[in-house]
């Protein structure tokens, strides 16, 4: 069975500093993974997806994620946080469209 684990339930950063949201996966074969974002009172929106074409995936709003098979990780990063990035972020896999437990990102001015 495939599953994902989001290692942090809350992350707080200052505006202009880097963002790192961690996601590990468990899979008996190469997974297909995604990150979705959920802003307050808005629907979930796809940020980016990994489908084995390239290990470094670029998404919307300056986010990117790197698939590391040796570490079974798919961490989400952004070089410089904006206030508008404050939201909840979900890692998941395309198998049954399964979602992790989420990481709430707080951005301080």
């Amino acid at each position: 069975a495939q599953s994902v684990t989001q290692l942090d339930s809350h992350v707080s950063v200052s505006e202009g500093t880097p963002v790192l949201l961690r996601c590990n996966y468990s899979s008996s074969y190469s997974p297909s993974l995604f990150w979705y974002v959920q802003h307050p009172n808005k629907g979930l929106q796809l940020l980016l997806k990994y489908t084995s074409a390239a290990t470094l995936v670029k998404g919307i709003n300056g986010f990117e994620a790197e698939f590391k098979k040796s570490e079974t990780s798919f961490h989400l990063t952004k070089p410089s946080a904006h206030m508008s990035d404050a939201a909840e972020y979900f890692c998941g896999n395309f198998n049954k469209f399964y979602f992790g437990s989420g990481t709430k990102l707080n951005v301080k001015p």
């Binding site: 297909s32 629907g43 929106q45 997806k49 395309f94 049954k96 979602f99």
Partner: protein
């Protein structure tokens, strides 16, 4: 292009009452999902439809939850009778097909409070 529409946006009911949620997916999307999102948790898949057939309902509590998609377009999710622990946001999502990596588009959800 219109997005996934859900109604109502909010619903408050007493335990043991019944409730129904409605979802209109994006036109042409064959795959439809219902998720339950309890506060502080990630969305949990309840049921997946491909056109009007059920693909996966392994996590649907079938003693009280039911869902249908009779004509392969709109879908309804029903809870009867509701329990306090059913308080959650119920999300509907649709995809163009069940292709491996196609994006799913989500509605804004129905927030259910059971008192």
């Amino acid at each position: 292009e219109a997005g996934v529409a859900q109604s109502p946006r909010y619903k408050i009911i007493e335990k043991r009452q019944s409730v129904a949620f409605w979802c209109n997916p994006i036109s042409g999307h064959a795959t439809l999902y219902w998720y339950q999102q309890i506060l502080g948790q990630g969305p949990k898949l309840l049921i997946q439809f491909q056109n009007n057939g059920v693909v996966d309902d392994s996590q649907l509590p079938k003693d009280r939850f039911s869902a249908e998609r009779l004509k392969g377009v709109d879908s309804t999710l029903k809870i009867q009778p509701a329990k306090l622990e059913d308080s959650a946001v119920y999300l509907c999502a649709s995809r163009f097909n069940r292709g491996e990596h196609t994006e799913a588009f989500f509605g804004q959800g129905t927030r259910l409070t059971v008192v």
